[in-house]
């Protein structure tokens, strides 16, 4: 069997976290191979092991019959494995053509002395590599922009330039890390065609990490699915799409959670606390949010769900005044938030537990909580809220004097929520509270969220784990590539097959 690349028992551990826990697969020659899984599954870590950014903790990576695990990144690039990066890593201050030329340095025949003395050999070499780079740029329709600074290119061009740079290495295997991120569905369609063309024209094996399932299902010959560092499925696209484990990984487990007690929502509707109208946000060349409108009423738990890259966190950050709005308005308690600074928002009664938790690692748990009460002058209410936090999360009580950075991921999440509550907010915004956290702790966190809501807190929840989010919320909005495609009662949405489509790329009809 001819495998272009094969992984066997690959493991990668960071501190106590097993990001990749024994993954094995063979990538057939000239295949387009998809590596998918929910956020935190370990896909990019696998890429980083294969390309030498990390030396794997255990297991082997075989390429052309030789083990390459642990070799330095430049050596692996040299051997013919090229890659792109999830968050685009171009050489921003260099021109477009220079970006591509950098990757030809390894084949340069001119020595340091040739370069300094500008010999004929240097001139020939320079001419040849420039011609080759221009060919590649022409293929990606970037030739007329060859002398522009890379950082000045629009987002789509930057993605293509990264691929052009990778191809300058004359690779045999090309690893693409989320090439469709930030593309709209029309652009993603074009990308599908380009990936196939690339494979045929440059005679490549392509490995793809991608969250846009439409793209994955359309181009991949074979798909490997990971969740929490482990393999959960492998096979042809159609089979993977129907796999129960895959559905569970993407939509979250917990069918029984849907039956969790829920109060009737049919009473007199409370006043609108937060109102977002036609919100548009763009940054780094991506138009991430394209006109989102939503309402959160006092005492409600509203969930904002959708696949990775749908614009959930961006919406939340824009509400929290951490990103500038391109258009639209955000009103909180009747007041337009335009012109309000992020830190002033806390005093107005909006608190957030950000994605990735962002606790202060070198402060103790107690100090972290005190920082959350920075805007509170009254010692008495700080003490009372601290007690409340401990009541909500007994684990934090046991660890009051421990440094935040020594807590586990789940405990850090508890701390982040408790810290947000310390300011005594009217609206609590939670960004991906279950991300990268062990299932047992996810249960505890969602129980706590439920208790916080019962005390009358208004909550806006951004969550990838759809089933959990819909079980906890009263109402929900489903985002797909920056737009609200579905909205309504959470219990109804939980049964709506279109929600599943929004994640697994079966094409949700807009409007």
């Amino acid at each position: 069997m001819s495998a272009a690349l094969s992984l066997s028992g690959l493991e990668m551990t960071f501190g106590g976290l097993r990001a990749v826990a024994g993954v094995s697969f063979d990538v057939p020659e000239k295949a387009i191979f998809g590596l998918i899984g929910p956020n935190g599954a370990g896909k990019t870590t696998v890429f980083n092991c294969v390309t030498g950014v990390y030396a794997p903790t255990a297991g082997t990576i075989t390429y052309q019959g030789k083990p390459i695990g642990g070799l330095p990144a430049w050596k692996i690039a040299d051997l013919g494995i090229a890659r792109t990066f999830q968050n685009i890593r171009l050489f921003g201050q260099m021109s477009v053509i220079e970006n591509v030329l950098v990757a030809s340095h390894r084949v340069t025949k001119a020595s340091l002395l040739d370069v300094i003395a500008r010999t004929a050999r240097y001139a020939d070499d320079d001419r040849a590599t420039r011609a080759k780079a221009m060919d590649l740029l022409a293929f990606f329709e970037l030739a007329d922009k060859a002398d522009q600074r890379a950082s000045s290119l629009p987002y789509g061009d930057q993605r293509r330039l990264e691929i052009a740079r990778a191809l300058m290495l004359d690779p045999r295997v090309l690893l693409l890390d989320e090439p469709a991120a930030g593309l709209n569905s029309a652009e993603a369609k074009v990308l599908e065609g380009q990936i196939r063309t690339l494979r045929d024209r440059f005679n490549l094996t392509v490995v793809l990490v991608e969250h846009n399932m439409q793209v994955v299902m359309a181009v991949c010959d074979e798909i490997h699915v990971m969740d929490r560092g482990e393999t959960i499925a492998h096979g042809a696209p159609a089979a993977v799409q129907k796999d129960e484990k895959v559905l569970e990984a993407y939509l979250g487990a917990g069918h029984d959670a849907v039956t969790a007690p829920r109060e009737s929502t049919g009473e007199t509707p409370a006043e609108v606390l937060l109102e977002v109208k036609d919100l548009q946000v763009a940054y780094g060349g991506i138009h991430a949010v394209k006109g989102v409108s939503l309402q959160v009423r006092r005492g409600e738990l509203v969930a904002l769900i959708g696949a990775n890259g749908a614009g959930k966190t961006t919406t939340l950050k824009a509400i929290a005044r951490m990103l500038p709005l391109k258009a639209g308005t955000v009103t909180f308690g009747g007041k337009n938030l335009a012109g309000v600074e992020a830190h002033e928002l806390v005093a107005m009664g909006v608190a957030m537990a950000p994605e990735g938790r962002a606790i202060f690692p070198n402060l103790t748990v107690r100090e972290n909580l005190e920082m959350g009460a920075y805007t509170v002058a009254d010692r008495g209410s700080i003490t009372a809220r601290m007690d409340e936090a401990v009541g909500l999360f007994p684990r934090l009580g046991e660890r009051m004097t421990q440094l935040g950075g020594t807590l586990s991921g789940g405990e850090q999440q508890m701390l982040a929520i408790a810290r947000a509550l310390m300011s005594g907010p009217k609206l609590l915004m939670l960004d991906e509270p279950s991300l990268g956290i062990a299932p047992v702790l996810v249960d505890q966190i969602f129980e706590a969220i439920d208790r916080i809501r019962r005390k009358g807190m208004t909550i806006l929840l951004v969550e990838q784990n759809t089933r959990r989010a819909l079980a906890a919320a009263q109402r929900a909005y489903v985002l797909v590539t920056g737009e609200v495609v579905l909205a309504g009662d959470a219990a109804t949405l939980a049964r709506d097959p279109r929600v599943q489509g929004a994640y697994l790329g079966e094409g949700v009809a807009l409007e």
């Binding site: 430049w74 690039a77 050489f91 950098v102 300094i116 500008r118 001139a123 740079r165 990778a166 290495l169």
Partner: protein, 324 residues
């Protein structure tokens, strides 16, 4: 390039050398010559440091140490050669020895420290710079803190303006050709994004050490010419190679614009000339100098030339190839 053109270029260079020698003797006063010499030494120092700090993006503040290595190695060599060789060849050999020693010191310092980044690299290079200076200070055969040479002897005053400016030109051409080539692109890529540079097949540590060694080499050349400066004191002591010397070089490249070779030359000249012009402020000289610096940084935070080159492309052969 044909052999005839090479020969022609060589002859032109010799003619220019002789002409500059006579012109400075005939027209420039002793004071003007001293400032010119200082400008040349500064230009060498700044262009060398710019290769590391500007192009490769590695923050070094220990280059005074390499200048000291060059100055001592060069003047000791010419001391040994004294009486065995004509002054010109002796200075040439001294400068080559100085470059070799400083380059070696660059490799020795670079290998362990260039795995570090940012503030850490700055602190380690600062430390190495001081180690070099203090080692010289405690070596009795080198004259310790009294300096070199010991007693009433002096370093041959052979480095006239054509020597110093010739050295500066060599520095600009070699480092310029290096910067605007595939090697220079690799170094710039390291500055821009190290992980992406590795993924593009560039052994980043090796290249950082290479940049550091070449930079140290030409800093050593500057040190040797400084020691032999015909208008100088013909005596060197460790006190001339303290941290403030490293900071001075840093100021020159930030003044001129990090990443720009012509900017570095300009920065070196501006620093030398402005320090002279400010002499009339006497005791307040350094205060006025500091205010000038703050003023420039407020007006042009990117330095005089930013990271672009002054349009002297015709003088940099590499640029010609690059724009063709």
């Amino acid at each position: 390039m044909t052999a005839a053109r090479r020969l022609l270029g060589f002859l032109v260079a010799i003619a220019a050398f002789v002409a500059v020698e006579h012109l400075t003797r005939a027209f420039a006063g002793e004071y003007a010559v001293r400032v010119l010499a200082m400008c040349g030494v500064n230009a060498m120092l700044a262009v060398s440091l710019n290769l590391v700090n500007g192009t490769t993006g590695q923050f070094s503040i220990g280059h005074a140490g390499f200048m000291a290595v060059g100055a001592y190695a060069g003047s000791i060599t010419s001391h040994v050669l004294l009486g065995h060789s004509a002054p010109g060849p002796a200075l040439l050999v001294s400068c080559l020895v100085a470059m070799a020693c400083a380059g070696l010191a660059g490799v020795l310092v670079g290998v362990p420290s260039l795995r570090l980044r940012g503030d850490y690299l700055a602190i380690v290079t600062l430390g190495f710079g001081e180690i070099i200076r203090i080692s010289i200070e405690s070596l009795a055969p080198l004259g310790g803190s009294q300096g070199w040479p010991i007693g009433s002897e002096s370093i041959p005053a052979t480095a006239t303006i054509p020597w110093i400016w010739g050295g500066a030109l060599l520095t600009v051409v070699v480092i310029g050709n290096l910067t605007y080539s595939s090697y220079g692109r690799a170094l710039t890529a390291i500055r821009e994004d190290e992980i992406a540079a590795e993924a593009a097949g560039i052994p980043t540590t090796r290249y950082k050490v290479l940049a550091f060694a070449i930079s140290a080499m030409f800093t050593g050349l500057a040190g040797s010419l400084y020691a032999h400066d015909a208008t100088g004191g013909q005596h060197i002591d460790p006190g001339s190679f303290r941290l403030d010397r490293s900071v001075d070089i840093l100021v020159m490249i930030i003044f001129g614009g990090l990443g720009s070779i012509t900017g570095a030359v300009l920065g070196g000249v501006v620093v030398a000339v402005s320090l002279e012009l400010l002499r009339e402020f006497q005791g307040y000289r350094l205060i006025v100098y500091a205010l000038l610096m703050i003023g420039l940084m407020l007006a042009r935070p990117q330095g005089l030339l930013g990271n672009r080159e002054l349009n002297l492309r015709r003088f940099l052969p590499g640029r010609k190839a690059a724009s063709a």
